[in-house]
Amino acid sequence: MADLKTNTQQIPDELSECVRQSVLTNIEMMLGVELSSRDSDGVDLPCEGITGIISLIGDVSWSLMVCLPRDTATAVAVGFVGFEVPFESADMGDVVGELANILAGDISARLDALGVKAALSLPTVLRGKDIDLLLPEGTPSVRHIFSSSLGQFSVRITAGEPSHMRRSGE
């Protein structure tokens, strides 16, 4: 498991799989829908929507980004809380933040079982079109795209914390 803690050149396969399994298990449980997943192969999911970002900090520093296009976010929110949540509302931010929090909590527990300790940051939620973090060149990153009857969404894991990442224009 040393590789999980020390590999800064790429996102370890174990972590990538950990994230994929966590999303499949938790989303299917919470929303009662069947999910399929695929690697993005470097192609981003076009996203005018909402993104939840949370960091895992400890033995490792990784950030998790959950990006839901507008229609998917609206459908997921209904499944999550049981009633309609307007996309522009503060409640939508709560839903996506909580979703990121639940996924990160589960990933943290899975990593803990592998001997990797990592605490969670508070989630940050951003709404907009094609939100992305501009990472320093060579920063390892893996993105999974998930599909269900509620629509598509993506989950990305990136080495480093958001404060260490470049923002657009820097």
Binding site: M29, G105, D112
Partner: protein, 146 residues
């Protein structure tokens, strides 16, 4: 049985989900008050008017675990049960909450109604054995001539 529950979470949506889930367990006639973080929870916690507390872990200003520590340290004779409802589910976190800080139960998110019912049921039964809410106990006591 009537139970006055304080629900502490920085997410309004999650507070509503916890309250709705508790109603659906049908374990008690819950009457809710809400707090937005641990610090707000400390302000709103009244041992004489609170029967049970549900608190998130990961919150701004004051975390759930610090709320538990604060309440247990400042209300030493208070036996109001505190239940952590959190996405933090590593064994270390569970032990920290239950063994060190003094929480009474731990509910990992995401949860189902059945899971919540199973976790809360023994605590509600214990409260029922003690006579339900403090307000209810007084009223019941008056009815019984106490």
């Amino acid at each position: 049985m009537k139970l006055r529950a304080l629900v502490i979470d920085d997410s309004r949506v999650m507070r509503n989900m916890v309250m709705e889930s508790l109603r659906r367990t049908q374990l008690a006639d819950f009457e809710f008050s809400e707090a937005e973080d641990g610090a707000d929870g400390v302000t709103k916690f009244n041992p004489k008017a609170t029967d049970i507390v549900f608190v998130d872990w990961n919150m701004p200003k004051m975390s759930g675990i610090d709320f538990v520590r604060k309440i247990r340290a400042t209300h030493k004779n208070c036996d109001v049960p505190i239940i952590m409802v959190t996405s933090e589910k590593t064994m270390g976190k569970v032990e920290e909450a239950l063994d060190k800080a003094g929480a009474n139960a731990y509910i990992a998110k995401p949860f189902t109604i059945e899971y919540m019912q199973k976790k809360i049921s023994p605590i509600v039964n214990e409260l029922e054995a003690k006579g339900g809410s403090k307000q209810g106990k007084g009223f019941f006591g008056k009815l019984m001539g106490g």
